[in-house]
């Protein structure tokens, strides 16, 4: 039998739930990853690896070697005549780059080159080697255009982009007048470079036609919108397309929209008459998917001489390519992090002829808090205040932009716990005052915050006659632990050993899901699974003629009153299916919801070379209920290390003459490696946020990145007195300001 659909809008705080009873005792526990044995043994198939051993063809992309042009001709004749080549796909419908997240379709090239490295064609051949070679035989003639490649040159043309992840402007009071009269005035400009998500699995797709029906295995984060983007790109009804992404080798935002591979693989498979595999090369990933915008950020803060903020401004310039209105929401946390009655937050979007910009892990905070949290440190020093005391002095009671209450906020506790664990009171008081051999030693801290979002998501949970459960939802696991936490939620709700729960994800044949992005996945998909389980609990209670609240489920047994009955006995050979859909509701409008944390860092800066080594890094986080201590800790390690990358290493360099993304591979775009990372510490504070989700949890994956980079550059200042405001803090920038010996 099947119970009715069960939709719940998050209109009010939930109060205590079955999860709080902890009867089965598995939620939150550090269970190993559900799919872990498959991954460590090489048996989890990622997109490209489907149809292994079958008769398939291989595609290789042809890309543009010019920054801006009209395409006069694309001559594919030599490529088509090359050995092993089956077909060449070219024309106006080739995708320019990735689709913007949640857009109905990706942009097409329409006879133009919009950025250096843009896709032009796909060569399909019997082997990968033949396709790759023939791709070099495609001859393109261009009518060169005038390209715009530098944000700095386009500031006069920058516009208000309209609402995106946030309102571009958040104004309150009289910022300019109050700042002009402030007893202490701080005014500095920070710059951050473009970043690449650089997930380890390059974007890849396998496409297979069966008549008019198309199956695509692709590396995607948001299947519900990705399948629409594929259907529109290929020109078929969405009902004819099935998209599968059971394992995704990292996303970090770069797979929120489809890459150019998915549509090309489908068009190629149609033309070749057999399934086609397309994996982007690493160079293609850098040049044809998406990237994070470079930013120019001016921070102005006016305070009293005691250090109370009276005026706060964070004004930002960011870029995107023609026709893309997405803007990096740089100051998304500045809106609510610190008090101050007079506020001015703005975002202006300029246009350049460079690869489109889109979300990269923690869009907004990842770069916005590099400047805000550096500014808070600089100002604290100027005020002769401890940076923690300065922040405490400006802790708001309600959200300072709109006076909404915080649903939960343990920021002060994060400071206290972190300071105590780190030994903050022992830090060097003055820059360049602690030396070990040829290294200057210093410490820095920063606050972390990340807005919480809940998204619509559906799931069904089946309870079989043998008492085992199966979870079904088109959610993805991009390394975040979705499989594992959904297993744990189901096991906790239904009182089952975790090994009795099967989880099926990553397939548009399953109930539609929020997918993975914006740190919303665990709580959105998890709440839908919670509802589906609740649906089952109601049915079980009905069959036992008890109130659901009087029914205890543990170890496959139902316990009600003085009875204890195996689930299989209640089911009597039947299979039950529970369904659940969560939707965001009024709590998102009546409360300000965010996760919080604090980072503490110790660095050593080489007095001779200017090299910075991170020696210790501690993050204390409060993000509501932690669903799996092990996977949550790992996600935070990831965030911390991305913070190290943004502070010290990562910079996607744009050639101002040609628009080429110069360092478009993993040798030249420096992401942190093992030797860059010390042993890290992550501490979670106990917290429940019952307005945030049915699980009382908040987003976590991006929180641990927000602010880390500033903790590092603040520590560099404390170590050697050099303040870097032009990220990343590479050796050349530090070296220039080092004190004598």
């Amino acid at each position: 039998m099947t119970t009715d659909a069960n939709t719940y809008a998050m209109d009010e705080a939930v109060g205590e739930t079955r999860l709080d009873r902890g009867t089965q005792g598995v939620l939150g526990k550090p269970l190993n990853r559900y799919e872990g044995a498959l991954k460590v043994s090489g048996r989890a198939p990622y997109a490209y690896e489907h149809l292994a051993g079958e008769d398939v063809a291989y595609g290789f992309m042809v890309t543009a070697g010019i920054g801006r042009a009209k395409i006069r001709s694309v001559d594919t004749s030599k490529a088509e005549a090359a050995p092993g080549v089956l077909t060449v796909i070219s024309g106006d419908d080739v995708l320019r780059a990735s689709a913007l997240p949640m857009a109905p379709a990706a942009q097409t090239i329409d006879g133009e080159v919009f950025h250096y490295g843009q896709p032009l064609a796909l060569v399909v051949a019997e082997t990968f080697e033949a396709a790759r070679h023939a791709a070099t035989l495609v001859e393109t003639l261009y009518e060169p255009g005038q390209g715009r490649y530098s944000l700095r040159d386009q500031l006069d043309e920058a516009v208000n982009p309209g609402p995106g992840a946030m309102q571009p402007d958040n104004l309150r009071g009289e910022f300019e007048a109050v700042f002009a009269e402030a007893e202490v005035q701080f005014d500095e400009t920070y710059t951050t470079p473009s970043h690449s998500a650089a997930a380890m699995e390059p974007h890849a797709s396998v496409a297979k036609w069966d008549g008019d029906n198309l199956t695509v295995w692709s590396s995607c984060q948001l299947l519900e919108t990705n399948v629409i983007q594929i259907a529109n790109g290929v020109g078929v009804p969405v009902e004819n397309v099935r998209l599968l992404s059971p394992y995704v080798g990292g996303g970090f935002g770069s797979k929120l929209g489809i890459g150019p591979d998915a549509v090309l693989a489908a068009l190629g498979a149609k033309a070749a008459g057999k399934p086609v595999k397309v994996a982007l090369s690493r160079q293609h990933v850098f040049q044809t998917t998406s990237r994070r915008s470079e930013t120019i950020q001016r921070v102005r803060i006016g305070t009293t001489k005691e250090g109370r903020i009276t005026a706060l401004a964070h004004e930002n310039f960011v870029v995107n390519s023609t026709g893309n209105s997405f803007f990096e929401p740089v100051a998304i946390s500045t809106v609510f992090l610190y008090a101050g009655e007079n506020r001015k937050i703005t975002h202006r979007l300029a246009e350049t002829d460079v690869l489109m910009t889109a979300s990269v892990r923690a869009p907004g905070e990842a770069v916005g808090m590099l400047s805000l949290e550096s500014a808070m440190d600089e100002l604290a020093i100027r005020l002769d205040l401890d940076p923690i005391e300065f922040r405490k002095l400006n802790e708001p009671e309600v959200a300072p932009q709109d006076d909404l209450p915080f649903s939960s906020r343990k920021l002060l506790q994060c400071y206290e716990e972190g300071a105590s664990r780190f030994g903050w009171q022992n830090r060097p008081e003055k820059p360049a005052s602690r030396r070990e051999g040829e290294w200057w030693i210093g410490s820095g801290m920063a606050a972390a915050s990340r807005s919480h979002q809940l998204m619509k998501s559906s799931a069904e949970v089946e309870l079989a006659p043998d008492g085992r459960a199966t979870v079904r939802t088109a959610m993805t696991d991009i390394g975040t632990g979705s499989y594992t936490i959904l297993q744990q939620i189901t096991a906790e709700m239904l009182g089952l050993p975790p090994g009795h729960v099967t989880v099926l994800l990553g397939d548009t044949a399953l109930p539609p899901s929020s997918g993975s992005g914006g740190s919303w996945g665990a709580n959105s998909a998890g709440s839908s699974v919670y509802l589906a389980c609740e649906d089952l609990v109601r049915e079980l209670a009905k069959r036992l003629d008890v109130d659901p609240s009087d029914l205890t489920l543990k170890d496959g047994q139902a316990i009600a009153g003085n009875r204890q009955i195996p689930l299989g006995e209640i089911l009597g050979g039947e299979t039950l299916t529970g369904r659940g859909t969560i939707e965001p509701g009024k709590t998102a409008e009546t409360t300000n919801q965010a996760s919080y944390g604090a980072h503490f860092c110790e660095v050593a800066v080489n007095a001779v070379t200017g090299e910075t080594r991170v020696r210790r890094l501690l993050t204390v986080a409060a993000a509501g209920r932690i669903l799996n201590e092990k996977t949550a800790t790992s996600q935070c390690y990831g965030g911390q290390i991305w913070g190290i990358g943004s502070a010290l290493e990562e910079e996607l360099v744009i050639d101002p003459r040609t628009g080429l993304l110069v360092n478009h591979d993993l040798a030249e775009y420096h992401v942190p490696v093992n030797a860059d990372v010390p042993q890290l510490e992550v501490v979670f504070l106990e917290e429940r946020d019952t307005a945030a989700s049915l699980l009382a949890g908040k987003g976590l994956g991006e929180l641990a990145l927000a602010g880390v980079g500033a903790a590092i550059t603040n520590a560099i200042y404390n170590a050697c007195g050099v303040r870097v405001r032009d990220y990343p803090a590479t050796l050349d920038k530090v070296l220039a300001g080092l004190p004598d010996a």
């Binding site: 043994s41 198939p45 082997t127 990292g250 390690y637």
Partner: protein, 176 residues
């Protein structure tokens, strides 16, 4: 035709001479556990053992390995019977998305053999052996394997635990 010995199984293959060892494994032998992350020897996801030594399989042609013994992640253990290093990565959460993981695990085994053979690293105190396998040594020697999820701290824990467990059992130092 060439003969490739992979995980103790002999395969006869008719390959385009341009085929890398990595693509031979993935596209021609359906051994997709070995991953392609960059195809340029920059990320380490394609690490396999050739005659016991770790190499980037993307940087070598398949036809160069006639008669060599190639070991891939699939040759170490199965989901039901994991190799101790695989089990240690699982227990210590030495991965997230899992894409670089086969390369990390195979690389870790090759790295421990190099260490036992006395090979120094950039951070070794001495070039003549006698170095302790510190966390710093493990990190340095594993830095050819990039993990963008950044599971590095747990990768170090996993390798250390697997190595300590083997030392406790007094197992042979010869082969992993």
């Amino acid at each position: 035709m060439i003969t490739l010995t992979v995980n103790d199984t002999v395969h006869e293959l008719d390959l385009d001479p341009r085929t890398s060892l990595l693509d031979a494994l993935r596209d021609h032998l359906a051994l997709t556990g070995t991953k392609k992350g960059c195809d340029h020897g920059q990320c380490g996801a394609c690490t396999v053992l050739v005659n016991g030594r770790r190499i980037n399989s993307c940087l070598t042609l398949a036809i160069m390995h006639e008669g060599d013994a190639v070991t891939t992640i699939e040759g170490l253990g199965t989901p039901e019977a994991l190799h101790p290093m695989q089990a240690s990565f699982l227990d210590h959460d030495g991965f997230q998305c899992g894409y670089c993981t086969p390369g990390q695990i195979v690389s870790a085994l090759g790295m421990l053999d190099e260490f036992r053979a006395g090979w120094p690293s950039h951070v070794s105190e001495s070039l003549d052996g006698g170095t302790e396998l510190s966390d710093e040594e493990i990190s340095e020697r594993m830095s050819g394997n990039i993990c963008r999820c950044s599971a590095y701290p747990n990768i170090v824990h996993a390798i250390r635990a697997a190595r300590d467990e083997r030392a406790d059992k007094g197992e042979s130092e010869e082969r992993t």
